[in-house]
Symmetry: C3
Subunit: 273 residues, 3 copies
C-alpha cells in the first residue's frame, strides 16, 4: 500500500514533467471536460475521431482513451482502427464502456473492442464491468443502480477473463489484474453529482498509463489522484456548479506530497504464484 501510494507520487511527478499527449476518441457529453482534466493533470489532450486520421494521430500519443458514451457504429470501427495501431506501437489503451448493458449496441460495441484490440485498462461502474464479465447487473441509462455488493468480485472476475486491468469505480474503487486487487477509498459523493466524472477518472488513468508501464499501478495511481482531487474540491463546495469548478482547480494544484500522504489504497489480494 505504501508502495502504491509512493509510486503514485513518483508517477505524478513524472506525468507533470513529461506532459504526454493523450489521444481521446470519446463522447460528446464530456469531450470538453476530459480535455480540460487532461490539461489540469499536466498532460496534453487531443480529440480526433475520423477514420482518415485516427491511426496517424495515435502514433504521436503516449496513451489512447476509447470512450463509447455517445457511440454509433462507424465511431466504434474508428476506435478499433486506432486501437490496432496503438497495439502495434505498444501505446497503452484505456476503455470506458459507458452504458454497456443498457443497450445491445453498447454491450456489443464494448465486446467488439475488447475482442479486436488489446486493452490495458477498462474503467467503468459496477454494472458496466459486470456485464462485460458475464455477470448480472442492473443499469439505468448509464448509471449503475443495483447497489452491487461485490465490486471487488466484479473487478477480479473481469480481469481474470480478460487481458485487462479492471477498474470498478463507485463508493470505493477496485482495481484488479486478476491476481492483485487494490481497494481505493479516496473520492467524494459529490463526484456523482456532475456528469462525466467517471470519464475524467478514465482520462487520468490514461495519463498515468502513459508514463507507468505497470498498468495496475497506473490505474491505481490515476484513481488515487482523481479521488483526492474530488475530496479537495468537495471541501470547497459540494454544490454541483461550484464543485465542478473546484474539481479542475484541485486537479491542477494538488502537490506531489499530497498524493502519497492522502492516498487510501489497500491491497486486498496478492496471489504469490
Amino acid at each position: 500500500m505504501k508502495d502504491i501510494a509512493n509510486q503514485a507520487k513518483q508517477d505524478f511527478i513524472k506525468l507533470k514533467e513529461s506532459k504526454p499527449l493523450i489521444h481521446h476518441i470519446t463522447n460528446f457529453v464530456v469531450m470538453n471536460e476530459t480535455a480540460n482534466i487532461t490539461l489540469a493533470a499536466g498532460a496534453l489532450p487531443v480529440m480526433a475521431h475520423a477514420k482518415e486520421e485516427v491511426e496517424e494521430m495515435v502514433t504521436m500519443a503516449r496513451a489512447l482513451v476509447l470512450n463509447i458514451g455517445t457511440l454509433w457504429p462507424e465511431l466504434i470501427d474508428n476506435m478499433i482502427l486506432a486501437g490496432k495501431k496503438a497495439n502495434e506501437l505498444s501505446i497503452p489503451i484505456v476503455l470506458d464502456p459507458v452504458g454497456a448493458g443498457a443497450t445491445k449496441l453498447r454491450t456489443q460495441s464494448a465486446k467488439d473492442i475488447l475482442e479486436e484490440v488489446k486493452i490495458d485498462i477498462v474503467r467503468g461502474n459496477a454494472a458496466e464491468i459486470s456485464i462485460l464479465a458475464g455477470l448480472e447487473a442492473e443499469i439505468k441509462g448509464v448509471e449503475s443502480i443495483a447497489q452491487s455488493n461485490e465490486p471487488e468480485k466484479i473487478a477480479k472476475e473481469f480481469a481474470a477473463i480478460s487481458n485487462s486491468v479492471a477498474c470498478v469505480t463507485g463508493e470505493n474503487d477496485f482495481v484488479s489484474d486478476g491476481n492483485e486487487t487494490i481497494k481505493i477509498s479516496n473520492g467524494h459523493l459529490a463526484l456523482s453529482s456532475i456528469t462525466g466524472t467517471g470519464c475524467m477518472a478514465t482520462t487520468i488513468a490514461a495519463c498515468f498509463a502513459a508514463i507507468q508501464k505497470n498498468t495496475l499501478q497506473a490505474a491505481a495511481g490515476g484513481l488515487i489522484y482523481f479521488g483526492i482531487a474530488g475530496e479537495k474540491a468537495a471541501s470547497v463546495s459540494d454544490k454541483p456548479g461550484t464543485f465542478h469548478t473546484a474539481l479542475y482547480d484541485a486537479v491542477a494544484t494538488i502537490q506531489a506530497d499530497e498524493i502519497s500522504s492522502r492516498a487510501k489504497a489497500e491491497i486486498l489480494t496478492k496471489n504469490l504464484a
Copy 2:
C-alpha cells in the same frame, strides 16, 4: 394558481424521490449542460442518438427530449424512431425546435417530428413557436429578435392547432394547452446571457413530465422551478461565468417550500366547456 404552485411543489418532491431516467437526443452545444441540469434536478440523464439504440434506450426512460439544435437529416430520422417507440409506450416527449424559422431544414424537421410523433410539450422562444403555429416571426440564428407582443397568443394558437402543450419562454413564460393558459413570471434576464438555458428549461420540463401526467401542469412546474433557480443564481452573480456556475448550484439546492412560496404563476384563461 395556488394549485399550480402547490402541485409543482409536490411534483418537485416526487421528482427527487423517483430519479427518472431522461433520454435526450439533443444538440452538441448543450449536451453537457443538459446532462448536468438533469442531475442537478435530481433525475438521471442519458444521451444516445444512434438509430441502432434509440428505441431500446427510450424503453428504459421516463421521458424523452428531442432537441434539434445542431441537427442533420439522419438525426431527425432517429428522433422520429425514438419518438414512435416512446408513443407506443406512453413515455412523454418534449420537443425543443431550436432555430425553427431560421432555415428550411430546421422548420421542416420540427414539422416532420410533429407530424410523425405525438409530442406532449413543445418549448421554444416566441419566434420558433410562431413559425410552427403558422404565424409570422423574425429569428436571428436561434434567437427570437422581433419583440413579439403576443407570446400568450402564440402559445394558445400553437396549442390549439397541435396536440401539444406549448411553452413560449421569454421575459415571461406562457404555457398553454389551447384551453388553459398559464403565465409564469419567474426567471431572470441573466438566463439569456449564457447559451443553452432554453434547452435546460426543456430538460426540466421533461423531468416534470416524467412524474406528472398532466402535461400542462408538468410544463408549468418545470418552468417555475427553473425560473426560481435563475433568480437565485442571479442573486449570487449576474456575470455569465459565475451565473452559469451558480445556476447548477441553485437547481440542485432549491428546497420544496421555495417552489410553492416563490412561484409566480397566473392562470390567464380557463374555458369551462
Copy 3:
C-alpha cells in the same frame, strides 16, 4: 498603435450595439465554450453544420467561423459550401486550422479550405500557421511545442503567400497582412491552462470582423479584447476551473475604456508603398 487601440475601442462599442450573428462550423470540444464567448462579447452565436442548411444559415450571419478541430471529410465539404456562399455575400470568414501539421487530414483540409474559399483571417498557433506557410514546425496533437523564435516571421510569411490576415497567437500575438505587422502583448499564461482559448480568440476575431471591414484592425481588436479579458480573469484566479469561469465574466464586463487603456499593441512593420 494608439490608432489601433482606439479603433479597437470604437469597434468594441459598435459590436455591443449591433449584436451581429456569428455562424460557427466548429469542433465538438469547444462548441459550448465558443457559443458562450460569443454571447459574452455581445454578439449572437449559431452553430449549424449540416450541408442542407449551412448556406442558408450563413446568409443571415455577419461573420463565419470555420474551425477544423474535430473534423471529418464531410464536415470540411460543408465548411467549403458555407464559405463559398459567404464569399458571394462578402461575409467575412475566420479560419482556425486546429492541428494542421498533426495529421495529413488536418493539413490537407486546411489547405483545401484556403484553396476553395477566400479566407479573411486565419488564427492559429505558431506550428499550425508555419505548416500552412510551408515552413517547418513541430506540433504535439494540437499544441505547438517547438518554441518558435519567429512567430512574427511566420505571420508575415503566411500573410504574404495568402490573401488572408494571419494571427499567430502565443506568448505574444502577431497579426500581419504581409505588409503591416502588429505585435499584441496582452494575455496571460493561464489562457493555456484550459482548452479552447485559441478557439475563443478566433471567435472574438470573427465578432470584430463582423463590424470592422479592415481585417487587420479587426483581428488585432479581437485579440486585444480577449487578451485583456485573460489578464482580468487571471487577476481573479489562475487555477483553471475558477479562471475559466472568470474569463466569461471578464469578457462580458470589460468596459470600452479598458480596451484602449489596457491595449498593448505595437506596429512592427509598415511598408510605405
